[in-house]
């Protein structure tokens, strides 16, 4: 259960705040205009930006000061989600590095992860030898095997075409449904497609997540302004 307690993050003259009660597993869409601070908030939860005030709590434990690798979070960035000099299998193996697994177990887990994202047998390729969609799948496999309860999606599918993006979103819903996923999006259709909760990010605040259906049918003023309604 993730809780944000009076969290505030500043980047230069820009600031974003969030105060969320405990969030159970499921998919939360962060929606709002560009420059509103969606990425900043996600970076702070992932540990890439320090919080200036407030706390981030996971199951009641304060994780605000932990390094990214120590948090219960896994992040998919907009780009550079795989090391270009390593094969897909090597990339994914890095996610299993500290588990103390035998090589055979590792191999089995990697094969399993690749199969889950429909990339079975492509582990020996380097990222540059895969298509954009396949690279996104490989990155998703990396996050799967990192096996963290919170997954942060910082618009990793933004460069894909509409059909591929929809496919990836469905895949996210299929393989990550038991975790808490925070997903940044510009598009209310993305939220409608897979998210069960929505937080509107505008005017320096990320509102407490509310059920998708209600919020899209009866948007608050800030979302209404963004959607142009």
């Amino acid at each position: 259960m993730l809780r944000l307690e009076g969290l505030r993050v500043e980047q230069g003259s820009f600031a974003i705040g969030a105060h969320w009660p405990e969030q159970a597993p499921g998919i939360i869409a962060l929606i709002g205009p560009s420059g509103a601070g969606k990425s900043t908030l996600i970076s702070a939860i992932g540990g890439f930006l320090p919080a200036t005030a407030g706390r981030i709590l996971w199951n009641g434990q304060d994780i605000t000061g932990l390094a990214p690798g120590q948090r219960p979070t896994a992040t998919l960035f907009q780009d550079n989600n795989l090391f270009p000099h390593l094969t897909i299998a090597q990339n994914i193996a890095l996610a299993l590095r500290r588990r103390g697994m035998s090589t055979a177990d590792q191999k089995a887990r990697i094969a399993e992860g690749l199969a889950q994202v429909d990339l079975a047998g492509l582990g020996d390729r380097k990222p540059a030898q895969l298509s954009g969609g396949q690279q996104s799948r490989a990155a998703l496999a990396r996050v799967l095997l990192q096996d963290r309860p919170v997954v942060l999606l910082d618009e990793p599918f933004a460069a894909l075409g509409p059909a591929l993006k929809a496919e990836m979103l469905d895949l996210v819903k299929r393989v990550l449904s038991d975790r808490l996923v925070l997903m940044i999006t510009h598009d209310p259709q993305d939220a409608a497609r897979i998210a069960d909760r929505v937080s509107v990010v505008a005017d320096g605040e990320a509102t407490s997540p509310e059920p998708t259906q209600g919020i899209l049918q009866n948007p608050p003023d800030s979302l209404r302004a963004y959607l142009g309604q």
Binding site: G69, F77, N80, F83, H85, L94, R97
Partner: protein, 503 residues
Amino acid sequence: MRRTGTLYAVLVLAIVLLPVLAVLRAGSVNLTFGAADWAALRFTILQAALSTMFSVVLAIPVARALARRRFVGRGALITLLGAPFILPVVVAVTGLLAVFGRNGLVNSMLDWFGLPIVSIYGLWGVVLAHVFFNLPLAVRLLLQGWALIPAERFRLAASMNLPVWHLLEWPMLRAAVPGAGAVVFLICLTSFAVALTLGGGPGATTLEVAIYQAVRFDFDLGRAAVLAIVQLLVGLTAALAAWRFAINGALGGGLDRVVARWDTAQLRTRVADGFWLCLVGLLLVLPLAMVVLRGLPALGDLPAAVWPAMGRSVLVAFCAAAISVGLGLFIALRGGWPATFAGAAPLAVSGMVLGTGLFLLLFPVVSPATAALPVTALLNALVGLPFALRALGPAIATAEAAHGRLADELGLTGFARMRWLILPRIRPALGFSAGLAAAFSIGDLGVITLFATEAGQTLPLMMYRLMGAYRMEEAAGVAFLLLGLSLGLFWLFDKGGRINAEA
């Protein structure tokens, strides 16, 4: 990582400062500066000033021609301009002797026309060799200045029919020439092998050569120390000047760009540009071609002592490359002021100053012959260090900027971060730095002259001795061997760093 970084920074400080302190202590005992010493100081500054003037002034028309002409072989010429940087000085000197020496091409021609022949020894020989090495460097530095003028400015000047030279080129040169000049001046001040082979005699001895003679012939370590102090002061002054003029590295890319120009179509400018490009091409190609032409036939009957000398040289070169890159990596990862120091000090403090200091430190403990090869490897590594830092620092920064987040995300720290992120991403820079250090080292005729005996000589030292004994054929064979080794080692390391290193 932080602790070892500090340790290595302290080590670098010690490597440079300990010899300097030894020199200062020994020199301060008896601070006399005789007439011969004054002459050496005067000659050092005179030859450096003349070399700088010719290098930079000639570089202006050459760089301008390269900047505004597109022609077949332009890329090859720019690559060729980089060659003297890794060319052993003794090899270049034999090439220059074959062209400008007593029996060289130029004098044969003069003689044929019944004109008096010219001598390459003394001031003008030293200046000629320095121009050979530094004209290409100055051209590359100024070419970067031209590359920095936005293409739109040339278009604007053309549309308004304004003079490009007064409006764009002259202001750029006013900013770029002092920096290029300061670098060349510093290099000529601290150059030893050129002055050793082409200078000499009372009228043409530099401070560096005077230090060598004081140690080697007179065994007057006090006088060597005094000379070293003066050389140190001169070098530091020039380095500070170079620093002030904020130099930009000569190793950067972006020289392959030719901007569209509308002021270059006249026959007169075309002929002039062609003239300058041919001149610099000949200046570079002729000596190198002569090294190959004279060396190749002499390869068959090289003295047997060549092979052990070559073994020692290759060993020293590999050690120097390893030390230079290892040290560079640790310092570059740590950054901060030690990196700045390590990037500048080896350029300002000459090899003979460090060599004299190490000689003073080691002489009471071990025999110079024993210390010769390790000291040479260490000092050669230091010479490569500023270039290694300039290549590795940005490479590490780029790797971190692009992939540091992902490494953080995966919890890669310490050794794992090095193995999975840093080392694979900076391999081209590692290869380049190692290649540069190896090439510098294998051709170096410097501190080894202070220490080595006949039994422990390296290839450049052997070549120098063969030249001194007028065994020119054998020297030519060794020169060819050295040329191949220095270019080959650089190519090997540089290529090794690039193989399979996709973006």
